[in-house]
């Protein structure tokens, strides 16, 4: 992907340069689109209540680490609890939960050019579909009836409408003309996905998946949803569950139950291997296998996990009151190849390609 994209950029640049220039230059110099074009970002939530979250940038070869890029470029703080980020065209949308805002930056230079600060209430995740963006919002976390998806017109970055949904909307996924919303359940627990038609921005259906759907991945029309199950302290503990959704029919086509007290999280995918965290270890399940794996591939309790090009990027939030660590594992050998200090409570890894 990354290589392909680079070749395309090079190709476009060549076209432009060659069409504008009558000189026959032997060497074509391509200006990078920005300092942060080749690498990935880590969103760091930052301390709760006071202070600011940050975004770290790490170059592809890990040699260049820059910790507070938003502040460095824009000389201002992002805000409190940097929950997540998403991309649309050449922009990055940084969702700042406790400040009820989204900072919009050029994804290559990180220059801020817009802020959405009206119409959000406890925003969680962002996803784009063409010129439309969707943001899950908890609303008042103690009110289960005011949760919604904010719809953003990405041409002017204004919230144009809201779609009320069941409580606790969290992760989002676009599949063709549908938006899938995983209802993890906010401060409580929920057990459904909402399906929203993105042409009409209208609600289609809900799918019962399992308690506390906390992460999703898509592979060839199959949406894999990992449900953590209700935790012990709810007094109604339920097991975790891995569910496969057929996105043509919006129905559950396969489900795997974990042990009664097992609560997996952080589902990610490495070609056909589903990777998730459970009991301070990382497991890998082949999509086609009919059983859950019993042996782990990596040990460690991670706050977030993302796979990219055969490597697992796992964040460790430590004591949640000091800088965390990003660990990179090579999934062919399952060995740690990098450990990089990042910001406070690193909650997500995002690749700029």
């Amino acid at each position: 992907m990354k290589l392909l994209k680079r070749i395309i950029y090079l190709f476009i640049a060549t076209l432009i340069l060659s069409s504008c220039s009558s000189d026959d230059d032997d060497i074509i110099i391509v200006d990078p689109l920005g300092d942060y074009e080749f690498g990935f970002f880590v969103t760091n939530e930052g301390p709760f209540g006071t202070g600011t979250g940050t975004v770290s940038f790490i170059s592809e070869d890990f040699s260049n680490v820059d910790h507070t890029i938003f502040n460095d470029v824009n000389a201002t703080d992002l805000g409190n609890i940097v929950q997540s980020m998403g991309f649309a065209n050449s922009s990055a949308y940084i969702v700042v939960n406790n400040s009820n805002s989204i900072e919009i930056v050029n994804r290559y230079t990180f220059e801020s050019f817009a802020t959405i600060s009206v119409g959000l209430n406890n925003p969680r995740y962002f996803v784009a579909d063409g010129d439309t963006g969707y943001v899950s919002n908890w609303g008042d976390p103690f009110d289960n009836n005011d949760d919604f998806i904010a719809v953003i017109d990405l041409t002017n970055n204004v919230i144009t409408s809201t779609i009320p949904v069941a409580f606790g909307p969290e992760k989002l996924m676009i599949v063709r003309d549908n938006l899938y919303v995983a209802h993890q359940g906010g401060y409580g627990q929920n057990s459904i996905l909402s399906v929203i038609n993105t042409n009409a921005n209208s609600f289609i259906t809900t799918i019962q998946v399992g308690d506390v759907p906390n992460s999703m991945v898509l592979n060839e029309g199959d949406l894999w949803v990992l449900c953590g199950g209700n935790p012990d302290y709810t007094g109604n503990e339920t097991n975790g569950r891995l569910v496969k959704i057929n996105t043509e029919t919006n129905s559950v086509s396969q489900a795997f139950d974990f042990g009664a007290t097992e609560h997996p999280n952080n589902l990610t995918i490495d070609s056909s291997s589903l990777i998730y965290g459970l009991n301070a270890a990382v497991y890998s399940k082949e999509e086609s296998s009919t059983e859950l794996p019993t042996t782990s591939i990596i040990s460690g309790f991670f706050y977030s996990m993302t796979v990219n090009e055969g490597k697992l990027y796992a964040t460790d939030a430590g004591d949640f009151a000091s800088n965390g660590t990003l660990k990179v594992f090579d999934l062919t050998t399952n060995s740690e190849i990098e450990s990089i200090e990042v910001g406070i409570i690193p909650g997500g890894v995002y690749f700029n390609n």
Binding site: G49, T50, G79, N98, P231, A280
Partner: protein
Amino acid sequence: MERVYLYLLLFICATPMYAQLDSIQKLEEVLLIDSKLDDYSDGYQLTSISDTLIERNKASLTDVLRFNSAIYFKENGYGMVSSPSFRGTNASQTAVIWNGININSNLNGQTDFNTISPNSVSDIVIRSGGGSSQYGSGAVGGSIHLNNRISFKKQKENALRLGYGSFSTLEGSFKTKQSNKKYYVDLGVDFIDSKNDYEYINLEQKNENGEFSRFNVSANTGLKLKKGSLSWNTNYFLSNRNFSGSITAPSDDHYKDVTTRNLVSWKTLKNKWASTLKTAHLLERYRYYPNKEKELYFEGKSNTYLGDYLLEYELLSNLKVSSVINYTYIKAEGNNTGNNDRNTLAAIFLLKHQVSKKLSYSINLRQEFLNDFENPFLFSVDAKYQLISWYSLKLNASKNFRVPTFNDLFWDAGGNENLQPETSYQGEIGNVFHWKSLQFKLNGFYITSKDLIKWQPSGSGLWMPVNISESENYGLEFSGIYSRKFKSHLLSVSGNYAYTSAIDKEKDKQLIYVPYHKVTGLLSYNFKRFSAYYQFLFNGEVFTTTDNVGILDAYSISNIGLEYEIKRQPLPIKIGIKINNIFNKYYENVAYRPMPNRNFQTFINFKF
């Protein structure tokens, strides 16, 4: 009982007698309900904060102590939750003692210093160093004693004070006091109400959602008996606060506190015996509204019932011993902690020996029973030796503890019923120099603590408290006071400096929100009916993250005040103005929570 004491005496010492103690048979004209404080703390530094100093920061007990002692306060925005750090320990390791009774919250182990009205006490004593054997859980770094003294002398006083200041701050207090040789009664009512909407300097932001109001009533009565005294102290406190937002996060929170405290003490004297029977009830209740516009709230409350019997015996003219039996029953309930209770029986033994005019020492022992967790045996020994007329040496060493709070034990979800008390050992060397009107003190202390309760995420991601941390604190404290009078002019200078190192041993880093350096200064000038003062505070940088990467800058601020008395009979009036933060400096006490810009307070005080 007498025999037990005799054995103890033989066991502990058999030294010749020189000096005499104050006889316990004499009932003092000014009665300190907590008589232990004066009697068994010779080797500790006791610093008294006078009512004049309290008067100058009338709006906030946090400010009274912040500007007049080495204690550091972490205030979550002006007027919001304010927690002390004494010698680098945390808020639940600083005991607040009201007339001898520990009033730290049973729910979170702390006292929020913005939920105590400075008007409700007659004096404040800061007792540096460990005091668990006398005062129980939490007296690790030191204890702060809020006293209501009862005096059996003829007096009649009424005072009304009204004040108005920046950020729509209105305050008022009324106090009446009447007493003679037989009885004493005082009644005080005070309130403060503030929008607290100060502007953040150089930021286009205001302190939002920061309004607070407080209301307090306190009454103290005393009756002199033929051989003893009977007294009743009572206090009611109500506070309504919104919790202010920070630079990066707005807030809709609202918080309501109610506390009531009642204490009845009956003191009897007979020959060489003195006994004090106390019974007390404490109520604390909070309601937290995550959104002030909505009905939803979370609440918690706790009732403490306490019975305490102190028996004191003057074994020799220079040796007295006391034993205390204290029974405490706590019942707490709340949305997050369920219904739980705790029974504690404590046996305390105190000995004070005035070996000579120059040398005295005391021994305090405490053993608790009934608690569900381990009950460590606690002790403290202290001594004072006056080497020369202008120099005394003070020494103390103690073992102290902090018991798990109801939140630690029962919080849903995460509470851990297997928690044990935190324990710590400490030692201190104090030096007191005194020449006429110049006095200064230099203390060095060392505290080592283990099994500190820390909330941390468990394997399942759930936050739970565990007895895991260890810390090591050491430091130096310097305080000095000098005053000079010539003709009608009175000039006095005082100051504090503290160096505090508080190390998290696991990480080998300074604990967060503990400044290495803190300085306070006070310059007062008095000429006839006019007085002026200058308050100064330097707060060194603090770390905001446990890896010491996040740093909050040091700051210094200055306040000035002017007061003038119009002695017009029959209604003497005092008027005053105070300017806080005169240089209009931007500073944060907690990261991203700016403190007030330059602001004014004015008052008028009538006496009749």
